[in-house]
Amino acid sequence: MTAPATVAAPPTTADLAERLRAGDRLALTRAITQVENRRPAAAALLRAITPHTGHAYLLGITGPPGGGKSTLTTQLIKALRARGERVAVIAVDPTSAISGGALLGDRIRMLEFYQDNGVFIRSMASRGVLGGLAATTGEVTRVLDAFGFDWIIIETVGVGQGEVAVAGLADTTLLIEVPGLGDDVQAIKAGVLEVADILVVNKADKEGATRLVTTLRGMLSLAHSTGWSPPIVKTIAAEGQGITELLAEIAKHRAYLDTTQQRAARLRTRLRAETLDRAGDLLLARLTALLDRDPAFAGALDDLAARTVDPAAIAAALVAQLGA
């Protein structure tokens, strides 16, 4: 292989949807790029695959940096593959606010599956979006879903307390906690603890694990009941311990969502939010164009700077103009 010129030219975006449905992994990866970058071909692609989505189960994994999210993901992949299920992973890492670049390092702990066609791991940079996911993570799950994966594991950036976006996307959300990161008050704060379906106390062989479990159990007992009380599962992900128990709890939660129709309800909530998001994008683009280019608003910034009007008044005028 010393003459690259003899190799066929890379295929085009035209038939991506068909090719990825037929199991072409090159088409899959290029389709994800189109969607992630919101390239012109992405809209048609997503439209074409939508009827073929809805099969995959979405599992969110969130928790503090260094808590063992990638290691736990690796163990879950192994266990699911042993049952013959196909697994995709989206691993989100933060984008540098300074340079716009990112170092995506979750993959380094998931290298062992490189010969397994039933596993596909994709790193995504958050690209300035807060909340623990990237703007297009939801759309990328649809591409992986249409390809035919049974499970899509979404690993968030290492979160603090407010990064709850994954719970809006995933069917089941795991929150990983590890001993030694804070006192009881940390657990009282609002945030990720409230949206987790299953709590995982990882590094359960470390000092303080038992106390952490007790604290979390106390916290959960105070939460108002929604019909599902999040179980607490102890794991030592690095040694593969607790994975069977964790999968059993995931299966229970899945059954609970199905029997109570909540999976369908969550899907509707998610689709409603995504629809409004996209509508917001479209509207904002039109409003921006109006403000920047429409003669009616030529003096708007001068008036604002002179403090003769306030931003809310201009905003109302923009929206009125849009409807006119």
């Binding site: 975006t13 992994r25 994800i32 716009g100 670049g101 290298l111 791991i121 994709r122 990237a134």
Partner: protein, 139 residues
């Protein structure tokens, strides 16, 4: 919103073969990140199959191979063959580390387009990648 639509250059930084010196690879990874690229680093001791499979799943625009073991004449053709086997013919392949002068032309002929030895500045590497990655949407 518009920042999300801007195209980012994605680069895989990999260490094929058996040498355990990854300081250089990590410095390069950091420099590319600081230049605004999205860098996937896969660590030491990667086989050609592992590198090509990671390049496919991550859909990178460029692959940077760091090698100090002297096995480049054996490993690089295999990496390129594995990339091509997966249809990744438009991925820019670069190499850094210790590649003797006599080997530079043969390595280039294999399809390694950027070769960066000791003394290369980080700026040169960044600029080369920016100027030579694929530009149009291919799939």
């Amino acid at each position: 919103m518009t920042t999300a639509t801007k195209r980012k250059i994605r680069v895989l930084v990999a260490k094929p073969g058996l040498d355990g010196h990854d300081r250089g690879a990590k410095v390069i990874a950091r420099a590319l990140r600081d230049a605004g690229m999205e860098v996937i680093y896969t660590g030491l001791h990667q086989t050609p199959e592992m590198i090509a499979e990671a390049a496919l799943q991550e859909d990178v625009d460029a692959v940077g191979l760091s090698i100090l073991s002297g096995a480049h004449m054996a490993l690089f053709p295999r990496v390129i063959a594995e990339l091509h086997k997966r249809g990744l013919t438009d991925v820019l392949v670069c190499a850094g580390g210790i590649i003797p002068l006599d080997d530079i032309e043969p390595v280039r002929a294999m399809g390694v387009r950027g070769i960066f030895g000791p003394g290369t500045t980080l700026d040169e590497v960044v600029r080369f990648i920016r100027d030579n990655v694929r530009t149009e949407d291919t799939a």
